[in-house]
Symmetry: C2
Subunit: 419 residues, 2 copies
């Protein structure tokens, strides 16, 4: 079949499955999720064998060890997928929930009821577990999903898609509720992103380049974040022990992820007390520091930071360090260089904590906590389909609630309008 | 100045005003709204004199009486604007509201706090009262606004913009928080819609052609509805008196608006009892009926409805009428031909009412009430900046809550993440 015919067909089938899925009961969706978990477990040998084709192809193509590791499935990792399906099944169904209800003077009862968004397209890179996680979250929230993973994982994803769609079918849900695009041509993405008639939202997951490409091409709204240039501001009134622990954790515990700290801002009045010991701890963890002039007066062996360092998302053991005069300058720095992802203040000063919380409008704003907590699971959302740093519809980690919208329901007893 | 330089300058100034405005206290915003109301009242003669220039120009251009009436300001209409400013001032400020707060097992307190969207662009047609209403709602919700009204109202809108920005300035808010585009070239809209770096959302208000053009051109997300093809389904179990009143009200009370009924669906088992009297009442109100074959067997003097009638938004005293076999067929018709605006069922049957509420996913779904209630004021939102029929961010009438988003706030006491 022609590729654009095929992709359009997938989108159309998803739209029509989404209509059925929107009206399906929680119990049926949970049955599908249970069936998915069972099938994944039962067919783990087949999955591993398809996965080994991807791994072999990846080795031939010369993929690096990090990428190969992301691609690789093991019995334990399949077990992890099964567990994540069980966890999603156990979350409350957001669909049909009435979030509020009130009565008007004329007796009309007005309510807001949660309903699915419709059809969700997920565009992602190597990790095959995204296939399972995204499919289960979309299904639980009553949305049909179209999955387009990286071409490196195509054998694995095809197999997973087959299993997931088959399990949905077993529970009586149209199997087009979960579809994996099996064409590996880049063109497939372009065509997918033009189906604004059938697809309601696109969620890309991956590096900044992938996201920018998706945003550039898409005629469909995109929920996304480009990068996480996260800041910790150590205020003059900080508790130093908390500051050491939080900054160390935010940078070192897992430097390759979007909620790791990339720039440390330090109030000038505490810099001489705070920076030397902090620098020692970072040095022991092999963190490369790049500082402003004033920071380098205190820690002379720091590299000088350039303008581009303030914008950088290193995703590595590198940290930009800047000394600022006061809270205002710290907030101003975050506004100018930040990415609206996650920014934290360490302070015992009540007023400064309040000001930071009110005036920094990043999607996650923290007091006395590591930026690494910025995550749907850590926040207790029970799941995470991604993080949004644009303000429309969702801002911050997105869980099931961000995969639904609310309609108005109006319960009358014959009311008519007079003016 | 070059036009694209001018429009970019406006967008940039709005972005920078929005940063200030987001952190401004409620009291200051309310003071600005009070000042706006006072200035409008004081300068009503100047407004009327600018308005008469628009009216004169409109007459020369040969605008029809309906359009001229929409353009026209009178002392009473200015009084209405002043009153609307007072009403917006009295609404609760959505910014800073914490909608929820919960504690995690590690002691982290997570909350969701409402913050402004940023910069909102409003593109609209003739009515100058939109200038005042939209500006006040954006200001109250902490957003900077760029207003682009119809060229027919340019003198009036310029004057209103001057007054509103001046009043904001008096209260200490940057006057770029409210800007009216004074260039009348069509090109200005194209340039405005390309400023996705500075403008967060576009809300177009007007006819379907305007909206389609905005959506086509915009690189910025658009909150909109194209049209309202609203249905009333009279079920077999309907209370006939309620059905007569609701259908009559939904069609006749104000036929030219988007929440008026355009198609009447009737269950076959009640059609012979219901349609003759209903048709008589419509005939007395000079409503032209266009029916399906079965409806015309009952009311032979109906015109035959064609396929395009089921899609039509007449905005006039015309009504399409169709007899359906059952609730399913009624819902199917609404899905196929509807516009996701407002659809109602008239029934005394509990199960059918519940099914209709759950399975019709239009932005407003009603039982035993006139579709004419689909409106932010009628729902008790206190205001309405427009209606959205796309599901992302807002669905249905949009009030102040739809002009804000929520960020996550995290209150810690030194927590770090272990895994």
């Amino acid at each position: 079949m022609e590729i654009d015919q095929e992709i359009r067909g997938i989108a159309l089938a998803a739209r029509s499955a989404s209509r059925v899925l929107a009206a399906v009961r929680s119990g049926v969706k949970d049955q599908a999720l249970e069936e998915m978990a069972r099938s994944l477990g039962e067919q783990s040998d087949e999955i591993l064998s398809e996965n080994s084709k991807d791994i072999d192809a990846g080795k031939k193509k010369g993929l690096g060890p990090a990428l190969l590791d992301r691609l690789l499935l093991t019995p334990e990792r399949i077990e992890g997928m099964v567990k994540s399906l069980d966890e999603v099944r156990n979350l409350p169904d957001p669909v049909g929930e009435i979030t509020r209800m009130w009565t008007r003077p004329n007796g009309l009862v007005i309510g807001r009821m949660r309903i699915p968004l419709g059809v969700i397209g997920i565009i992602y890179e190597a990790r095959p577990n995204v296939t399972v996680e995204a499919a289960s979250l979309c299904l639980k929230s009553g949305n049909a999903v179209i999955l387009r993973g990286g071409s490196e994982a195509i054998y694995t994803n095809r197999k997973l898609g087959q299993i997931l769609a088959g399990a949905a079918g077993q529970a009586g849900i149209p199997d087009a509720a979960v579809q994996v695009i099996s064409r590996t041509e880049h063109e497939a993405v372009d065509i997918l992103l033009a189906q604004d008639e059938y697809i309601d939202v696109i969620i890309p997951r991956g590096g900044e380049d992938l996201i920018r490409k998706v945003v550039e091409l898409s005629r469909i709204p995109v929920l996304k974040h480009y990068k996480g240039t996260c800041h910790v501001f150590v205020d003059a009134g900080a508790d130093l022990d908390k500051a050491f622990d939080i900054c160390f954790n935010a940078k070192v515990q897992r430097p390759g992820v979007c909620n790791a700290m990339e720039t440390l801002l330090v109030h000038k009045d505490i810099a001489r007390e705070f920076l030397p010991e902090m620098a020692t701890r970072f040095r022991e963890a092999r963190v490369e520091l790049r500082g402003c002039d004033r920071a380098r007066q205190i820690i002379p062996d720091m590299k000088p930071a350039e303008e581009r360092d303030w914008f950088a998302e290193y995703l590595d053991l590198i940290l930009a360090v800047r000394i600022v005069d006061n809270l205002e300058q710290g907030i101003e720095h975050i506004r100018k260089y930040g990415s609206d992802h996650t920014d934290a203040i360490v302070t015992e000063d009540y007023s400064n904590a309040q000001r930071f919380l009110r005036e920094v409008n990043s999607s996650s704003v923290m007091v006395n906590a590591s930026t690494r907590f910025s995550d749907g699971f850590q926040y207790g959302l029970g799941a995470e389909i991604g993080i949004s740093t644009t303000r429309l519809h969702a801002y911050g980690p997105m869980g099931l609630e961000e995969l639904v919208t609310t309609k108005f329901i109006v319960l009358g007893s014959g009311q008519t309008r007079e003016s």
